[in-house]
Amino acid sequence: MTAFDEAWTVSRLARTLKRRVEDDSGPIWVRGELTGIKHYPSGHWYFCLRDDTAKVDCTLWRSAAGRLQSPLVEGSEVFAFGTAVVWEERTALRFNVMQVLPAAAIGAQAQSVERIKQALLADGLLDPGRKRPLPEFASRIAVITSIAGAAVHDIITVARRRWPAVELLVVNSAVQGEGASGELVRALAIVDRLRGIDCCIIGRGGGGKDDLAAFNDEALCRAIAACSVPVISAVGHEVDVTLADLVADVRAATPSQAAEFALPDRRDVAARIVTLGASLSRALQNLVSMRRARMDRTRDRMVGALIEQLRASERRLLTVKVRLGPAMSRAIDARRSRLSRLAAQLQALSPVAVLGRGYSLARAGDGRVLRRMVDLPGGTAFTLTVADGAVAARVEES
């Protein structure tokens, strides 16, 4: 097999190029200068778009030509919205244009948006301080969007997944094209008449990314600012920020994200409840064990104090005992010396002591003391007591 056997046919080359080009490119905006404009009786337009270094052949079919706001002008700068395609017959690349806007008009539109922005700014409507927080657990949410669009579906899907207990009240409104801003303002007025609404999502999903004019409308911006509940904007455009986004309390990139902002995830809440339950029992356990520890400490201190008191009493008793011995001896000695004193005094008064000094004592047989002569007639027997004893005596002669 040679390389020639594998040679492509021209058709295959054309088909492959066509697939490569058309599969990869969605509709895009291309900016360039209009040249070689040809308008055919069939209603189709042919022209080139070019800049300093490149040019591309363009076709504007009759079906799309009806949307032209002004006739195409040779040499003018435009924005063309379309898709790149390959024309197989000539293997030629063409840009299939769906919409053409003069760059000057775009400039004017941008200027108008800027003017409205300045007016909103001057009235304080873009002040970050006036942004209201979203409720933590919304139970009823108003949704302003087109019920034909993907936004409602996306929001319902997210709500069912995150927080099924919510009620969604949908207010239908056009979200692009002529009259859309007026319908959006009316929808906001309806939301203000609903009661029990926690927040409002206003936006659109999918659809053309080119027509955001409704969301740059001044009346809509003012209605959003005046809405009685917090508003989440979800214009579904990641790149361009509309004035509605700036005025809204919260800006979401998509309707799904708006629903995520508006509703908690029930798994997070469930986890929070579990954590709180654990904290609750732990806190009580801690409290009880701290109380118990404190009681134990108090009991220990009480017992300690009691023991200390007993020891103090014991010590006092010992001291008393030690002091009691000498005190007793002293008392006994005192009594003893007093006794000796008394004995001495007694001794001094004893008649026996007088006998010691040479006296003697005469007593009758019956013990009576014989003091006088009459007591002693002759022959009387009596007892004579001297210092060291007594003798029997008799009166010889009276």
Partner: protein, 89 residues
């Protein structure tokens, strides 16, 4: 009947505690229980209240079906009654 339906829808939420109230109170109860100067009697009362709110919060998480309704204003006079139509997403 449209009027009764809208009346029910527009009924105010009432004073029953919301899930947010329950969670906030639970956090406060835990905080208070962590204060060890609390009387044991008060602590037990708070704990019981906490358990009640915990159960209530768990019940609220039980499965519910998201209700989707379209709001229609086809009253002749501005500010007239609104109509609600079920919308199956």
């Amino acid at each position: 009947m449209t009027s009764s339906k809208s009346a029910r829808t527009n009924a105010p939420a009432g004073d029953a505690p919301t899930l947010g109230d329950d969670l906030k109170r639970l956090e406060e109860i835990v905080r208070r229980l962590e204060d060890d100067t609390l009387e044991l009697e008060t602590a037990l009362q708070l704990f019981e209240e906490g358990v009640g709110r915990l159960n209530a919060a768990q019940l609220r998480l039980a499965d519910a079906e998201t209700r989707v309704r379209q709001v229609l204003d086809d009253s002749a006079a501005p500010g007239g009654p609104l109509r609600f139509e079920s919308l199956d997403g």
